[in-house]
């Protein structure tokens, strides 16, 4: 339980800010995609904002995060500048990955955000290796790895559960169980309701929680991070949530279940958290201010991205290999 002190309210308002920022970022991404300004695809995390914000708020600045293509939120939550992220979505030269990665490949190494990945589950063993690196270098850093319910059916996920438990690496698995892969519901991809059970089969402690409660996510992640940082090895948190939008801005979206969507909008993590904040003593003005500030930051990010140049055709051979000494 978080006491309603003034500092705490300030910190919590910062979380609220981040959640709104992510929402605004994703809304802009959908809009820009519709306008044809994003080539390829983009995968919004609208409705799931509580997970990256809650989880990343439990980290030290030098802790590390890896995520999926649906990781815009994780990047923002870990502190990446939305301008460079948005520029990356628009594949501009000013993008965080020089406009080569696009929406599915964001990265901000300075902020400890080690990248998103377009192959489902492929980043999970990579996160395991990063965690091993932290352990071997004795840096006391912890690694957070976000992935979906779909990813939890891929062999690499299990291989990593096994290796990370065996080698007791400081890795926290954050499963964003939003109930669907692209169109396949979890009922058609797993026989049991809880993905957390899978981790337990390897001796990894795991919990299933309400992923739309940002404070719950934060509290559980804090405990898991402490566990990992103290050398007890990996931990898994399964956050149950829902994806409002289509799988991607590109997908046809015919799989949508409108009733379910309506039901879930009722548990939208943002108004829910606003309500909680008000109960804890925050004012409506404070919330409005955060909202305005966050949305303005994204507006600026969009303008920054739109003003940035697209890469020249001749640059296509650049950036494949690291130069010696880098």
């Amino acid at each position: 339980m978080i006491a309603a002190t003034q500092e705490n309210i300030g910190m919590l308002l910062a979380l609220y800010n981040r959640m709104v920022m992510i929402r605004a970022f994703e809304e802009s991404a959908i809009e820009l995609f519709a306008k044809g300004l994003i080539t390829g695809s983009t995968h919004p995390c609208i409705g799931q904002e509580a997970i990256p914000v809650g989880a990343c708020s439990a980290l030290e600045p030098d802790d590390l995060v890896l995520a999926t293509y649906r990781g815009h939120g994780a990047a923002i939550a870990k502190g990446a500048d939305p301008r460079y992220l948005m520029a990356e979505l628009l594949t501009r030269t000013t993008g965080c990955c020089k406009g080569r990665g696009g929406s599915m490949h964001l990265c901000d190494k300075e902020k400890g955000f080690l990248g998103t990945n377009a192959i489902v589950a492929a980043h999970i063993p990579i996160a395991g290796g990063v965690a091993l690196s932290c352990k071997l270098r004795k840096t006391r850093q912890v690694v957070l790895c976000f992935f979906g319910d779909g990813a939890s059916c891929e062999g690499e996920f299990f291989e990593t559960l096994n290796m990370s438990a065996l080698w007791k690496v400081p890795l926290v698995f954050i499963c964003e169980n939003n109930g669907y892969a692209i169109s396949v519901p979890t009922s058609a991809s797993q026989a049991t309701p809880d993905i957390a059970d899978r981790a337990r089969g390897f001796g990894i402690p795991a919990v299933s929680i309400d992923g739309n409660d940002v404070l719950e996510v934060r509290a559980r992640t804090s405990a898991a991070v402490a566990h990992a940082r103290q050398g007890y090895g990996p931990f898994m948190i399964e956050c149950k949530t829902v994806r409002w939008e289509r799988h991607s801005a590109f997908s046809a979206g015919r799989y949508e279940n409108p009733e379910e969507a309506q039901r879930w909008k009722k548990v939208d993590p943002i108004p829910r958290f606003a309500q909680r904040l008000l109960e804890m003593g925050a004012t409506v003005e404070q919330l409005n201010t955060e909202e305005v500030v966050a949305r303005a930051a994204i507006q600026q990010a969009v303008e920054f991205a739109m003003d940035s140049p697209l890469p020249e055709p001749e640059s296509v051979y650049e950036g494949i290999f690291a130069k010696p000494g880098t």
Binding site: R100, G101, G102, M104, A121, E154, V184, A188, L310, I320
Partner: protein, 323 residues
């Protein structure tokens, strides 16, 4: 004759064979009500139900493995991999298992398994969602590979694939799904290993694969206006490969350009060229030229158009050869 898209033609071939062969089952992700990532399966789930159109969890390797298990035990399976880039997650099942199982079990089993996968080389979806990896599979004995470029061929080849007793990799370029041709009402089959002259010509042979075919045809038209007569050939299948038709054409034209979206180095063009050298060296009036995807990771966004061949790159390569 009906006019239909390549998407519809593939769908129709599968539907016909689903009706005919009760033992035929489809496996993959998003192939149920969703109709497949690119909509090729539309209506099949509704017609054949969840037992035979089996939407499943995300695990490419086991999905192919299950398909193979079905195939060796009295069923027939079609597995869809959502992007060709994801074959990387099922290489052992495709290459070490499906391709070799009839062989290493001494012929005790047959492998009526079709693996369908789309190339998404022309949509800017980035380095992990844009690759054309057909050369990897042409390298591996034991597989058959179909790679149609239009609705007519796609239907006939899919019908053949669905009667095969051997594993077939069926490669479709997403850019072609919406393109239309005439497709006969009556049933027909196109055997593997027969290339097709899409446009006859006499000055130069242009071999085009999958997504480059429309560009090749456009280049040929462009060049005709300049008085250069281009013969455009689509191999249609890579294994077996119709070396003979290409040799025949080369013997008439004396020049060849080969184009594909795949990476240049160790791509299929090198193999085709080497076969021509081996069989028609004395007919070569000029070096065989390839116009291919560049040897770079394929960038996200608009820059991808720089990477894959377009009609201008093809046309200028041919002009280069003629001068």
């Amino acid at each position: 004759m009906a006019v239909m898209t390549m998407r519809e033609a593939i769908n129709q071939a599968i539907r016909e064979e689903m009706q005919r062969q009760p033992e035929l089952v489809l496996l993959g992700q998003d192939i149920g009500a969703y109709g497949g990532t690119f909509g090729v399966y539309r209506g099949l789930f509704e017609e054949f139900g969840p037992e035979r159109v089996r939407d499943g969890p995300l695990c490419e390797s086991a999905t192919v493995g299950f398909g193979l298990g079905l195939a060796i035990s009295g069923m027939r399976a079609v597995v869809e991999l959502e992007f060709m880039d994801f074959v990387t997650l099922a290489m052992d099942q495709i290459v070490n298992q499906a391709a070799k199982m009839h062989y290493f079990l001494g012929g005790q089993v047959t492998v009526p398994l079709v693996i369908r996968t789309p190339i998404v080389s022309r949509m800017g979806m980035g380095p992990q969602h844009s690759q054309s990896l057909e050369a990897w599979f042409m390298h591996v004995p034991g597989l058959k590979i179909a790679i149609p470029s239009n609705a007519f061929d796609a239907k006939g080849l899919m019908k053949t694939a669905l009667r095969e007793q051997n594993p077939v990799l069926f490669i479709e370029n997403v850019k072609l799904y919406g393109t239309k041709t005439e497709v006969p009402e009556e049933e027909y089959f196109i055997p593997f290993g027969q290339a097709r002259i899409l446009r006859p010509g006499k000055d130069v042979t242009l071999v085009a694969i999958s997504g480059t075919v429309p560009e090749a045809l456009a280049a040929a038209e462009q060049l005709e206006r300049d008085g250069i007569s281009v013969e455009v050939i689509d191999p249609r299948s890579l294994s077996p490969f119709d070396t003979a038709m290409l040799v025949g054409s080369l013997q008439r034209t004396g020049r060849m350009v080969i184009t594909h979206d795949a990476y240049r180095t160790c791509g299929v063009a090198a193999e085709i060229s080497q076969r021509m050298m081996e069989e028609a060296f004395d007919y070569l009036n000029a070096p065989i030229t390839r116009v291919t995807g560049l040897d770079v990771p394929i960038p996200s966004g608009h820059l991808h158009v720089t990477v894959v061949p377009d009609q201008n790159r093809i046309a200028s390569a041919i002009r280069g050869l003629m001068s």
